[in-house]
């Protein structure tokens, strides 16, 4: 396998030009994530409406291409979706990163699916799984209103 399978064009694009990298207006939840090993940091802002739907989501932070791309892709993918659906997507996403399985969720468009799948190369790089999941865990933390910084340790 070529290293390009990890750094696919979609990943590089999201890494270099992350979408929704700002503090979104009117957010009502937020949380911080931190990977002390490499210094990756992310701050997720979330506007969750009363029906637990993600009205808006954005992030700020710095880190490697994988973590930035993953955060960017996450915001694009789950904006407008139910929190429960988002959780389901994360489940599939983690399975993809760890087991190499496909993502198959009805509520994901083909485009969204392709974009998510662009991170599948991470599977071969176990040390980088944390980079790919940091933003997602931080999103969950924000949605569930927990206060502590998400930490990915050793």
């Amino acid at each position: 396998m070529d290293i390009k399978e990890l750094y696919q064009e979609i990943v590089l694009d999201h890494g270099k030009n992350p979408r929704n990298k700002k503090k979104c207006e009117g957010f009502n939840k937020d949380a911080k994530g931190h990977n002390p090993l490499c210094g990756d940091k992310v701050h997720v802002y979330l506007k969750l409406d009363d029906d637990n739907k993600v009205k808006d989501i954005s992030f700020e932070g710095e880190g490697c291409a994988i973590s930035m791309a993953s955060a960017s892709i996450m915001t694009e993918t789950i904006k407008g979706k139910e929190f429960n659906v988002a959780k389901k997507i994360l489940e599939h996403f983690i399975n993809m990163l760890k087991e190499g399985s496909k993502i198959s969720i009805n509520s994901l468009s083909e485009d969204e699916n392709t974009t998510m799948m662009s991170l599948s190369g991470v599977k071969r790089f176990p040390m980088r799984v944390k980079c790919a999941t940091l933003a997602w865990h931080t999103f969950i933390q924000a949605a569930e209103g927990k206060k502590e910084t998400v930490k990915t340790e050793k």
Partner: protein, 405 residues
């Protein structure tokens, strides 16, 4: 159990001592290592070595995985609730120092009481002595009886509202007494007092199940479990690790470092500062596999047989005094011979290839209680056989002969 087969797995037994086969009866001091453990260390250094947890290159990933695998194995072996409860230390001594220092700093104040017993190894007294000095605390010693065991009533009587911790050995390294940990934990938990168990002699010779014992802290010495030197383990209930301060500071155990403040991550990371004993921990995984391969039940059964055979045989020698006669006893026989100092015994036995230990075995308080300055100690391991006991017994007779008594 076929000890010939077992012995063949330990390269040390291929060597002769003073021209004689090695009869190793010093396992309570440190056990010998099976070939699988020795080879695992070599293989790790030759094929997989790198510092763990800190780099993203392939070697570091492999090394980190191997290291954490051991934590997993150990978690299952001692039935801890999670790997967060398993901290690797330099030795059991450091494990107890870690608890004394951090728990002492946070929870022990002037006039508070630390409850230990007269059986304790210096490793389970000196760290508390430091807390006594630093905090003006009081150490109370539960009395040991003639049989070399501590009656639970003696402990009960000493518990007061000021008791902040009970620190107690699982299996005495001198008398072999096995303490009723579960009962002590029940007693202590009525008053919400945490219990630390010095499991140095427990871990290699007893079934150790943290959920069954219920203790708050358990200290293990890997080199007594057929494992490498340089590693110990502290098991601690997560609720304690969540509130206790860090111990040693350095790389790997921090979260965010600023000039005016530092924050720390959760356990076990918080307690593992600097470069760890990577190769040793990886090697230790093979010790656990070895013990599980033989089976802890088989080990207990085998050692019991040898112990009983040994006690009976040695008792026949009228000049011998066995130190202690506990009801519930592990694989240790300490003794003195009338008119012969333990050091002289050890020297004469060594000429016969028999390795035992002579001295106070880091238990001065207990020896004073028994009215002696030193004793000789034969301690068993998985590799010992009845024949070993026969050689020991003959060698003891030789002592009598040399000293004409």
């Amino acid at each position: 159990m076929d000890t010939k087969v077992i012995k063949s797995k330990f390269p040390i037994f291929k060597n002769k001592i003073k021209g004689k086969p090695l009869i190793y009866l010093d396992s309570a001091n440190s056990s010998q290592k099976p070939k699988t453990v020795i080879d695992r260390i070599s293989k790790f250094y030759s094929k997989e070595f790198s510092n763990i947890g800190r780099s993203v290159h392939s070697l570091a990933v492999t090394a980190t995985n191997r290291f954490e695998e051991t934590r997993d194995l150990l978690k299952n072996f001692i039935n801890a609730k999670s790997t967060e409860e398993i901290i690797f230390t330099k030795n059991a001594t450091e494990a107890i120092n870690l608890v004394a220092a951090t728990y002492g700093e946070k929870f022990i104040n002037k006039g508070d009481e630390i409850l230990i017993t007269e059986l304790e190894h210096h490793a389970n007294y000196v760290p508390w002595h430091f807390v006594r000095q630093r905090k003006g605390a009081i150490i109370k010693f539960a009395e040991c009886n003639d049989k070399g065991e501590v009656d639970i009533d003696k402990i009960k009587k000493l518990i007061t509202n000021k008791t902040k911790i009970i620190a107690i050995t699982h299996l005495s390294n001198v008398t072999g007494a096995i303490m009723p940990i579960k009962k002590i934990v029940d007693l202590a938990s009525e008053k919400k007092i945490p219990v630390l168990v010095d499991g140095c002699q427990g871990a290699p010779h007893l079934k150790i199940d943290m959920q069954e014992l219920g203790c708050d802290f358990y200290a293990i010495s890997c080199h007594k479990m057929y494992g490498p030197t340089g590693v110990g383990v502290l098991y601690a209930k997560k609720k304690w690790l969540d509130v206790l301060p860090p111990y040693q500071g350095g790389g790997g155990m921090i979260e965010e470092v600023k000039k005016d403040n530092i924050t720390f991550p959760g356990s076990p990371t918080k307690y593992e500062a600097g470069t760890l004993q990577t190769a040793e921990v990886v090697g230790f995984s093979e010790s656990i596999r070895f013990i599980e391969g033989v089976g802890i039940k088989n080990i207990i059964q085998h050692e019991k047989e040898i112990l009983e055979y040994g006690l009976e045989k040695i008792k026949k020698n009228n000049s011998i005094r066995i130190i202690g006669d506990p009801k519930n006893r592990g694989s240790i026989i300490s003794f003195t011979i009338k008119g012969i100092h333990p050091h002289d015994i050890a020297t004469i036995l060594d000429e016969e290839g028999v390795a035992i230990r002579a001295g106070h075995h880091c238990c001065q308080i207990l020896h004073e209680k028994m009215g002696i300055a030193a004793s000789a100690r034969a301690s068993l391991g998985i590799y010992n056989s009845k024949e070993d006991i026969d050689v020991l017994s003959d060698a003891i007779k030789k002592c009598n002969k040399v000293f004409n008594n």
